[in-house]
Amino acid sequence: MAARLDLRRFPGFLPITWLCLVLLYAPLIVVMVYSFNDSNSVTLWGGFTLRWYVEVFTGPEAPKFKAAALNSLAIAISAAIVATTIATAAATAMLRSGQFRGKSVSFVLINLPLMVPEIVTAVASLVFFSAIGFQAGYLTILVAHIVFCIPFAYLPIAARMQGIEGAYEQAAQDLYATKWQTFRLILLPLMAPGIMSGFLLAFIISLDDFIITNFVKGAGIETLPTAIFGSVKQGIKPNIMAISTLLLLVSVVLVTVSYLLGRKGQTTPTNKGT
């Protein structure tokens, strides 16, 4: 019975798998390989070199990229901190406050940025900021990033919280802890892996964002993705591939850590006798 449902036995499974893998990863591999290409052409292979990586840090465009990277880092860290805090509060309200009016509406509102096309959010943010007279700049980027990072932080945090039995909190209250003490001493430590995972995800999402940032950033301020885009408009140079490869590396590491934390979260809070 189980064998009949085995996806691997479907006709065309292998070719489709290969097609997906190639479409997803071939471009990334090309970029990674050509970032080590010792040639000024982006298409002809001229041997192995690390000079494009050196150029990223020392070349004529280095100050621009350095400033953009620092902006990206500062915005990603601040946006992730604020979004994680809001997401933690939201998860607590959604999962630990019983039934309340507008619960499902709240859930939709929290997760709306996942469903609304990013370009729409981008345009809307731009219109909104100019309507209320906010000068485009550092702050507008930060606010926009916080907003779209919330659902990404919320999902792992809520998943973790769902896995924590209510009995721990009841035990704490039974042992004379106030609601706040229960939250701080019991719920928060148990949720820590989920919160960390949510933070990393929010950080990566903010770090990588281009569309919304490009709309709300205003003149003179660049994040790494917008700086890269700006450079590419004048032609693709190999140093862009080197930067992209570095960014990919950071993303992969953080997403992996986030995933591992999330998985740890699924296995720890069970407290069954052996």
Binding site: Y168, A171, Q173, T178, G273
Partner: protein, 359 residues
């Protein structure tokens, strides 16, 4: 000591609780005395856990009052009630070691660190877990976790200890050992224990008094002997141990005694439960109180249907005149005369053990 002289630790006054249209507790009134091992016994979903959790403060009640040593606690949040709970799955804090778990309540009460640590050692001694003080909960066996949960709940020296089926996760051997320990612990500490279980054997062996609960109502309150030997109604009689419920014609009850006419016409003078009345009724008799005898001495006769081997006993199923089947227990000894299937047998119902039940 007469019950009226004793201090009431927990008093339920016509407590009701509904979930939507489902009534979990119907007008429950109950007195639980100080320094008593009191058990709430009933099938799952009967409301016993709801009753326990309403003392702890995890269930809001809709009507009535719950008094803890006279004080109405129905409106107090759980952390303001001087009762502690041993949870069914223990709910030990997984990120704290055994000592920290045990110290938690004392810390919340503002006890000094040194004093809390000393008290934690004391209660860990009490449950014989001194050498496990630094372990994390997931490094403990089920039985050890159960002791930590007990120590944690006892550490703040509560006025009443609530135990929510704490033995259900343990295996049989361990469960039997822990029963005795719990009983001794209750006597040693003098704390009122309120114990919830669906296991009638657990209830009978451990408790000073038992409240049998069904469908959100208290069916009967009494000590183990009263509950087993003097059941009020058919539910109590059949939930606690096994019983035969024989349809009989009941005479007018007088001073707790009544004459019941068995199928076949023999009259039996036996005890009557509160609520027993003249007319048709049910007579309860335990299988071990049905004895086989020569036909001329029998007060009930029938045909053997089945003989089941149970190890220490043999169970004999006998069909009587009215068509009902009666179970009899015969001890599996060499002297035992086991009737064979199809045989017509005489039975002597022990009048002292027979009881006409209330409706």
């Amino acid at each position: 000591m007469a019950n009226s002289d004793r201090q009431v630790a927990v008093k339920f006054e016509t407590v009701s609780k509904r979930y939507g249209t489902f009534t979990a507790l119907k007008q429950v009134s109950l007195d639980i005395f100080d320094n008593e091992f009191f058990t709430l016994l009933g099938p799952s979903g009967c409301g016993k856990t709801t009753l326990l959790r309403s003392i702890a403060g995890f269930e809001d009640i809709q009507d009535g009052a719950i008094r803890l040593f006279g004080e109405d606690i129905a409106e107090l949040p759980p952390n303001k009630r001087s009762v502690n709970t041993v949870f069914q799955n223990y709910a030990l804090f997984p990120h704290m070691d055994v000592t920290e778990n045990v110290m938690f309540g004392l810390r919340m009460l503002g006890t000094s660190e040194a004093e809390a640590r000393k008290r934690a050692q004391e209660v860990l001694d009490l449950v014989q877990l001194q050498s496990f003080a630094d372990r994390m909960p997931n490094q403990l066996s089920g039985g050890q976790q159960q002791r930590v949960a007990l120590a944690r709940a006892l550490a703040p020296n509560p006025r009443v200890l609530l135990l929510d089926e704490p033995l259900s996760a343990l295996d049989l051997k361990l469960r039997q050992a822990v029963r005795l320990e719990l009983q001794e612990l209750q006597k040693d500490t003098g704390i009122t224990f309120i114990f919830v279980t669906h296991d009638q054997e657990e209830a009978l062996t451990m408790s000073d008094r038992i409240a049998v609960i069904n469908a959100g109502e208290v069916q009967q309150v009494g000590n183990a002997r009263e509950i087993y030997e003097e059941p009020n109604n058919a539910f109590v009689a059949s939930f606690i141990g096994e019983t035969n419920l024989i349809k009989v014609d009941v005479g007018e009850p007088q001073d707790g005694k009544v004459a019941a006419t068995l199928p076949g016409g023999v009259q039996l003078n036996c005890s009557a439960a509160v609520g027993a009345h003249a007319g048709s009724g049910h007579l309860s008799i335990r299988p071990e109180r049905v004895n086989f005898c020569p036909l001329d001495k029998a007060n009930l006769t029938g045909t053997v249907q089945r003989v089941v081997y149970l190890g220490t006993d043999m169970q004999v199923e006998v069909a009587i005149q009215s068509g009902q089947t009666i179970n009899a227990r015969v001890q599996n000894t060499q002297m035992a005369v086991i009737p064979s299937i199809g045989e017509t047998v005489g039975m002597q119902l022990d009048a002292a053990a027979a009881r006409v039940l209330g409706a």
